[in-house]
């Protein structure tokens, strides 16, 4: 492979991985927060 502009190519690849990783991470964090809320609400339901 011709290595001219390799820095730009490397930056683009890092950007692609970073965008998807950060997005996936934020969705996972939001899911964890809602699951915690859900567990809290369930704990308020009186047991018969």
């Amino acid at each position: 492979m011709h290595i001219q502009n390799f820095g730009s190519l490397f930056a683009a690849y890092i950007a692609v991985w970073a965008i998807f990783f950060i997005y996936d991470f934020t969705v996972a964090r939001r899911i964890a927060r809602v699951e915690k809320d859900l567990a809290e609400i369930k704990s308020q339901i009186p047991h018969k």
Partner: protein, 235 residues
């Protein structure tokens, strides 16, 4: 969720191989050399972004036809994921353009329409947070989403209709266009991987929306139950 984890792991391996194929299997382009290899992720992200936008459109139409909130959940999930893919396009494009064109950005049809779609989908996400009633929010989102989608086919066709600074199409571009067979194989492989990634992210984001709905329903049920319990004690 375990099945999702296995699928995500397989997809990560496929993505690493896509990176390897784009860097080492695809042949060197004669004039641009290494920087042309951005194309394999830039263009395939563009395809995935447009596919996600199509999901948004169909979900919006389905909501207006059936008034089932599940379609609204699918629409917002696909909007968010499409924004991630449009962002990849808007970030990798200028990184490629700077060494090739000598400028980071130019206001040609393809670039401008892509930026406009990205901004409008961001508005879609922000404006939804201002409407509390789920039905009203879904109707507003569906109408707005259909309006935004009008720009997507125009964005796809822009490099075919107008003479743009953006390179002319090499896939489905008609006569005098095309790719080296190995380049085409790598490109279609990368596009397939990006499409799978898009589907995986939409599934995950949809789960978040369903959980939010479940939590809200349960919260209302608990509030109602405690209110009625309080009333019966007073009687």
């Amino acid at each position: 969720m375990k099945r999702y984890g296995i699928f995500a792991l397989i997809l990560t391996v496929l993505m690493f191989f896509a990176g390897y194929a784009a860097l080492f299997i695809a042949p060197d382009e004669a004039t641009m050399h290494a920087i042309q290899r951005i194309f394999y992720f830039h263009a395939s992200s563009g395809w995935a972004a447009m596919e996600a936008s199509m999901i948004v459109f169909f979900a919006n139409v389905a909501y207006l036809a059936k008034r089932d909130l599940k379609w609204d959940w699918l629409a917002i999930s696909a909007v968010e994921v499409s924004v991630a893919f449009w962002t990849v396009m808007l970030v990798t494009g200028p990184i490629w353009a700077h060494p090739v064109w000598g400028v980071w950005w130019t206001w040609d049809w393809r670039l401008t329409l892509t930026l406009v779609i990205w901004i409008l989908y961001l508005c879609y996400m922000v404006l939804r947070t201002l409407i509390a009633d789920p039905e009203r929010r879904a109707v507003f989102s569906a109408v707005f989403g259909i309006f935004v989608f009008l720009g997507v086919p125009l964005d796809y066709l822009s490099i075919r209709i107008w003479r743009t600074q953006h390179p002319q199409p090499v896939i489905f571009g008609g006569q005098n266009s095309g790719l080296d067979p190995t380049m085409a194989k790598v490109f279609f492989y990368c596009s397939g991987v990006m499409t799978l990634l898009m589907i995986l992210l939409v599934v995950k984001r949809y789960r978040l929306e369903r959980l939010r709905h479940d939590a809200e329903e349960l919260r209302l049920a608990v509030e109602e139950a405690s209110e009625s319990a309080g009333m019966s004690r007073n009687l």
